[in-house]
Each structure stands twice: as C-alpha cells, then as structure tokens.
C-alpha cells in the first residue's frame, strides 16, 4: 500500500510516495508556475496511491480540487524530519516564501513554532533575488559565498532595501563573494533568532530547498554552536512528512 504527500510550495511542487514501511518509493518535482493545480494534476497523473495528503501554501486549493486531507507545512516538516532523525527535536525549514523554526516534544508532536510574517526576509526568495543581483547562479550561490575572504555586514533584512545596499557595496568595489557571504549571514541572523525562541539546545534538522546551500549550513552551525543535520533532498521533507501522515490516518 502506498501513500503520497504533495507539497505545493511557492516555487516548486514536490510529490513523494512512500511504501508501507515509510520508505520513499518515488519522488517528483516541478515548478509551481502560474497554475499550481494544473501542475499538481500533471504530477499525480500516472501514479497510484491509497491516500494523498497535501501541504504547502497551495494545500487548500488542492483540497478543494482533489478532496484530499491537508496538513500545514509545520506539522509535515516536523513529521518528515523526525523520520530521518528520530532523536532530533528542532527543525528549521527555509522554503521559497517562508521560514519556520519548530520544536517538538519527545513524542514528535509540535511543541512550538515560529514563522516569518508577511515579507521575504529570511527566505529562499531573498537569497534568489540577491544571487541574481550579484550575477550568481542560485545553485552555486552558497559555494561562492564560502569562498569569501572578508567579513562584511549587510544590515537590511528587507529584500528591497538589501538589494540597494548590495548595489552600493558593488559600487564601492567590494567583492561579490564577500557580499554573498554577508547576505547569507544576514539570513542566518534572522533565522537564528527564530530558532532560539523555540529551542535552546540540541541538534537541528535543516529542511527545505535552502538547506541545500552549504554556506547557510556552515554559518548556521557556527552561529548557534549546534549541529545542523540535513537529510538527503531536504526540499522533499515536507512532501515526505505529508505522505507519512497520510499513512498515519487509520
């Protein structure tokens, strides 16, 4: 018996199928585009499952179109992260349009969470726009930032203000790599604050697409002096958690 989880995020849609042992049997990913339901339909066409559960910002749309149960990203990421690292009690998820810090009780239930509100500060979108401003490809933005030679402080958290701050740093001749690391550090400062409000110690599971960025991982671990663990394909953790939760419904 197979269960599916679909995570309709702001940038990408992820579909994960799990077998009855909770192992990932299949995963698919596509860009969200302008018509998330059409894209989601394409993903689920041709796969068969016993039940599907939706998460992500498009979950309610999916619920209406496909009459499927939904779960918030918070619970889905907590469930997915716990399947990879059963002892970890803190999860950080940074996706395209939001970031969340979650702490769990020993039994895996969500104890407390923090989420950014209304703006792109501290999200994948921020990094994406900044990479573009600096002429880097988002896929190796983190690697480039790690090659920085000098520390540099970016004070703006706001995407719009930070972009003009970056432009003026470029004009002052600062190296793009240094600026890149400064930008990563500014996101880390913001999410570190969120993490410390939900949990003060122990390892952290880092999920969501931004967890693939090595500079984010390194700076986060350095800033919090806590281990940062990243599952394989961290961007799939929400969909994976939703698939596991679909299987949990009796």
């Amino acid at each position: 018996m197979r269960f599916a989880g679909i995570d309709i995020g702001s940038r990408t849609i992820k579909l994960v199928m799990v077998d009855d042992k909770g192992q990932i049997a299949l995963s698919l990913q596509t860009d969200t585009g302008f018509d998330p339901i059409a894209e989601a339909s394409k993903l689920i066409n041709g796969v068969s499952y016993h039940r599907i559960m939706a998460t992500g910002y498009g979950r309610n749309l999916f619920e209406i179109s496909f009459d499927a149960p939904t779960v918030t990203e918070i619970k889905a990421h907590a469930r997915g992260a716990r399947a990879f690292f059963p002892d970890v009690r803190t999860v950080l998820d940074i996706g395209g349009q939001d970031s969340k810090a979650i702490s769990m009780l020993a039994n895996g239930r969500v104890k407390k969470f923090e989420m950014n509100d209304r703006c792109a500060a501290g999200t994948g979108k921020f990094l994406e726009i900044m990479a573009r401003t600096l002429g880097f490809d988002i896929e190796n933005f983190g690697e480039e930032a790690l090659l920085a030679e000098n520390d540099l402080n970016i004070s703006s958290m706001c995407t719009v203000f930070a972009e003009s701050e970056v432009t003026s740093l470029i004009a002052r001749g600062r190296s793009p790599r240094d600026i890149a690391r400064g930008l990563h550090a500014s996101v880390v400062r913001r999410v570190a604050g969120m993490i410390s409000r939900v949990s003060s110690e122990g390892d952290i599971v880092f999920t969501g697409g931004v967890a693939r960025n090595p500079c984010m991982r390194a700076l986060l671990s350095e800033k919090l002096t806590r281990n940062v663990l990243v599952p394989q394909d961290p961007q799939l953790v929400g969909a994976f958690g939703a698939a596991l939760l679909a299987g949990d419904i009796s």
């Binding site: 910002y57 309610n60 918030t72 239930r109 104890k111 969470f113 209304r118």
Partner: protein
C-alpha cells in the same frame, strides 16, 4: 436599506459614494463570515438585523433621540463610564475603528507605523463614513496609549467638541485619585452638555442599566464554557461588539433571550461546533466592528473561540459597579472602583491581566491562547512576550500574532493558526 436613509446620511455630512462602498464591503463580509456559519442559534437573528441596520435604523433612532433633546456621546474606549452618560440622560455609542478606510489621507496625518485601530478612527473621520461620529454631540478621547493620546491632538482639529479624558497609568492611591478627579470632571461636562444634573436616583438607575447589560454578557460568556460550545466565537464576539452600539435595555433583553436558547442547547449538547473541537481563548487587542479577521480564520480552521480577553470582551465587561451607594458621591466612588480594576496594558505593572488570562483558560476550558496583537500597539505587544512565557511555563500553548486590518497576511496567518490548531488536537 440605502434608499431610505440617503437623506439622513447626506444630512449628517457623509460622503455617500464612499459610504456606499463601505456598506457594500461590510454587507459582503457579513454574508461570507457570519451568515455562512452552520448551526447558528436562532437568537442571532436579532444581531444580524442590528448589523444590517448598523448605519441605518440605529442612526435614525439616535437622530430621533436627539430630536427629543437627548445628547449623543461617542467614545473610543471602555474607560468612558456609560453610567455617568446615562445618568445625565445622554446616550453613549462606540465609534467606528475596525476597518482601513481612506488610508492615503490618514497617512498625511499619522505615521505609517501607527496601529490600525487609531488609523481606522481617523480614516472614518477623513473618509466621512461614520454616522456615529458625525452624529455625536461630544466625542470622548482618552489618554490610554501614547498613540491614542497624541493622535487626539490631531483629531482635535477635525472633530468639533472633542473631550479628552486623562487616565492614570499606575494602580496606586494617586492613580485612583486621578481617575476620580477625571470622572468628576467628565460628570460635570456631561451635565453641562445635557443641562441635566445627575441625581442619586438617576445615577442608581444608570448603574443598574449598565450592570444588567454586563450581567447579560456574563451569562452569555458563562454558557460558552460548555463543550460543545453552544455559540461560535464569531457570534459571541458580535454580541460583544453590538454592546457598544445598541440601546442598552434592548441589548440586555436580546442577549438574555439568546442565552435562554443557548441554555437549552447546552442541555441538548447541541453545539455550533462538534464536541471536542479545539478550544481557543483570544487575548489582547480589541476587535472592533468589522474586524472579524482572526475569528474567521480560526473558526474556518476547525477550532472554536470560547472567550475574548479583550476590551471588546471580558476586559471591558468584567465586574459590575456596586449599586448599593445612596448618594451621588458614594456611587461615583463605586464607578471609579469598578473602572480602576480594568487591566488595560497602559497600566504598569499590570499583573492582573496575566491572572485573568490564566483564570479564563481554566474556566472556559481553553486548550490554547492566541495572543492577538495589533501591529505597533506597543503596550500589548510588549506584554505579549512575558505572557507567552508564563503560559508556556504552565504548559498552555500560546500563539503570538501581530497583524493589522489588511488582508495581505491572511495566507500566512492561516498556516500559523492551522498549525497551532494541529498542535492542540
């Protein structure tokens, strides 16, 4: 209703085109938010009617009162004592401050980072869409938070007959003395406005009228302790909102009538939501009409709101005024005592508020608290952090929200609130 009331609104100086837009939005929102609910008590029909006529029949009634010589006093705060107003044969109404209106104009007078409630009160004035305000013979501002007290300085140039009441910020003997002085001064001003001297008889009657109104709300609140909750949080909030607009005696009778129905529902275990739905206490900033954003999100996400620790709610209605006094002076003291207990965040320190939240969590059997803060409302937002900490130490889940009247954060709020409800299940 529009056609019948147009000349009345025109006469009040409202901007008819803008007012039509407002009523259109209000009507649509009411339809989507209130009338779409399932399992509503029949007694809500009265409140539906009140809301459908909130700028119509109620205004006409107030104009008729004025014609008969009665004065209308508008207020923005629960510290304005209705007992004194009624005793001088005047009528107290709450003024509009629950929706964004004419924001471009407002931001010429107030900084952008002013709380939504203050901005809204200016918006209704500048947009000429609040018939309560335009109809008022006296508008009472009160020195609560810094935002409000400074904003009244600007409002003063826009509103004729603005009366500003000072308020204490510390619950000391001096603080109480200040409140007493200010209530005495207010009494005198209201008497001057109406030309009617307050007597022991009229004050006692006024205290009884306002107490009856509060007692009816207490009865309604108490029925919400049942599981399943016999009334939705939205509908109960609406009753608390109408508290500020309606004729007191009629309001009391209507609330008591709905309570009779709710008592039956409780006996029959009939609820607005299924039994064992997660139960939420909303605490913090007031939710003025038509600010139904938070309860709408909560109650369309499967939880039920069982209490409001708020000015529009229990903070505003808690405690009756002692009616045993025989002289005006004794009763004025009783009024001061009653209002001095209000645990508004302008007081420092304000430990009663945390105690009340904890008491309410217990008595309404809430599973969690949503701390509803209006952005830039410094006093309540600063209190939110120690309150969250104290609740969590008692294993009471708490979600701190900071929002305004705009709809731009509804998606994010929905995710956070749904996740909070998942946490409570």
């Amino acid at each position: 209703m529009s056609e019948d009331y147009k000349s009345m609104w025109l006469h009040l100086g409202l901007d008819l085109a803008a007012h039509d837009v407002l009523l259109g939005i209000l009507g649509k929102a009411y339809q989507d938010i209130f009338l779409s609910q399932n399992n509503r008590p029949e007694g809500m029909g009265y409140f539906d009617f009140v809301m459908s006529e909130v700028h119509g029949l109620r205004i006409k009634e107030l104009i008729d009162e004025k014609k008969s010589g009665r004065k209308i006093i508008g207020s923005y705060c629960v510290f304005v004592p209705e007992e004194i107003v009624l005793a001088a044969s005047a009528t107290l109404v709450g003024l509009c401050s629950g929706a964004d209106f004419a924001m471009e104009e407002v931001e010429k007078l107030l900084p952008r980072n002013t709380c939504a409630l203050i901005k809204s009160s200016f918006g209704f004035k500048l947009g000429k869409v609040c018939p309560y305000l335009e109809n008022a013979d006296m508008v009472v501002g009160e020195n609560t938070c810094d935002g409000k007290k400074k904003a009244y300085e600007s409002l003063n140039s826009m509103v004729k007959n603005l009366y500003v009441m000072d308020l204490p910020q510390v619950k000391s003997a001096q603080g109480r003395a200040l409140l007493k002085t200010e209530y005495d001064r207010f009494k005198k001003s209201v008497e001057e406005l109406t030309g009617i001297s307050i007597t022991a008889g009229s004050l006692k009657q006024a205290i009884r009228t306002v107490n009856a109104k509060r007692a009816a709300i207490h009865r309604l609140s108490s029925l919400r302790k049942a599981d399943p909750a016999p009334i939705s949080g939205l509908d109960a909030l609406l009753a608390n909102q109408v508290f500020f607009y309606d004729n007191p005696a009629r309001f009391t009778a209507s609330v008591n009538k709905i309570c009779d129905e709710l008592e039956k529902r409780v006996k029959e275990k009939k609820g607005a939501f299924p039994e064992k739905s997660p139960r939420i206490l909303v605490s913090c900033c007031p939710q003025a009409v038509p600010n139904w954003k938070l309860p709408f999100i909560v109650e369309t996400s499967g939880a039920v709101i069982v209490g409001e620790e708020s000015c529009v709610g229990e903070r505003g209605t808690r405690n009756l005024t002692d009616e045993s006094g025989q002289t005006v002076e004794e009763m004025m003291d009783a009024i001061v005592d009653r209002y001095f207990k209000v645990d508004c965040a302008i007081f420092t320190p304000n430990p009663d508020r945390l105690d009340h939240i904890q008491e309410m969590v217990k008595s309404y059997r809430a599973d969690g608290v949503i701390h509803y803060g209006l952005q830039f409302c410094q006093p309540y937002l600063i209190e939110s952090m120690p309150i969250e900490k104290a609740l969590e130490e008692e294993n009471i889940p708490c979600l701190r929200i900071e929002t305004d009247y705009s709809m731009e954060d509804v998606g994010q709020l929905k995710t956070r609130i749904e996740a909070f409800i998942e946490q409570l299940r």
